[in-house]
Symmetry: C2
Subunit: 197 residues, 2 copies
Amino acid sequence: MLFAKPLAELIAQLERLPGVGPKSAQRLAFHVLRMPTDDVRRLSEAFVKARESLQLCSQCQNVSEGEICEICSDARRDDSQICVVAEPRDIAAMERINEFKGKYHVLHGLLSPLDGIGPEQLKVRELLERLRADIQEVIVATNPTVEGDTTALYLAKLIKPLGVKVTRLAHGMPVGGELDYADSATLLSALEYRREL
Amino acid sequence: MLFAKPLAELIAQLERLPGVGPKSAQRLAFHVLRMPTDDVRRLSEAFVKARESLQLCSQCQNVSEGEICEICSDARRDDSQICVVAEPRDIAAMERINEFKGKYHVLHGLLSPLDGIGPEQLKVRELLERLRADIQEVIVATNPTVEGDTTALYLAKLIKPLGVKVTRLAHGMPVGGELDYADSATLLSALEYRREL
């Protein structure tokens, strides 16, 4: 008996979370014991509420409180552009730059044949269905990785024949980065996609 | 609006935990959305249960489910030795070496005058009260740090005049290290070579 049962149970539950090892689980659990009871209750409820009240938006597949998410139901946003991302958190990254005013589509993953993830495991069919409406451009904003590249090329092949423009976020040097520290792949694509000044 | 409200709320709650930054809070929250609902409910309940059902053992001040903890109520344990530790997790470290068969006392901190932590902020009075019974030895198992050393010397000064032997874990442990992180072999020899103060 190392810890009292409810404490041991909390530690065990915390250890199952990604990135939480035995030591951090212990530290978190002891922190919880010192927190005001109301704060613990709020934290506890936040888990269940998030899990139970959220669903996928029937249009863009983003995590949403209602059947249609706030972005999709926002009339001020441009219906003619769809930015395709891998995960809901990528929408947050795009929204932070406060520049894109179109709508989104979340694939919930990237193509990865070795891991058994094909188009059927992703929200590709749902994306194609949206293209029946008057969409002019699909911006593929997947990560510049092997899986992201594969997925972008796959989507372009599917969508271009429908007469919809397909673009992709530029690859290149990160702003503020140093040439000297850039990896070769980044530098290579920065050179390849150089633009005229 | 970066995230749906219940998701944003969960992220905000997670960010308040020690060692959880904005990125890990996001990652944890999205993990929760993919967890089976039952698992989320179990995790959620573990927080409240740990916080609400635990108290301090009236004897050793360890975190306990009942008024007296399992170690204090274990008749097979030696009543004549008390091992004094700073935190409840230090008891777990001691119990792992499976060698000490006496009882414990948790100070809930260490003397640290600069941080305003004096004997009144620790469970020192409670320790002295326990010495009225037939205690033969107090083993001070505080960390080998400045605060741990100070606390050990302070306790020795208080307790030795009462005719109780006061010992301390041997400095076989790396100086500046923490009890909680010591491997069992190191802790075992530290217990074996404890010396009288």
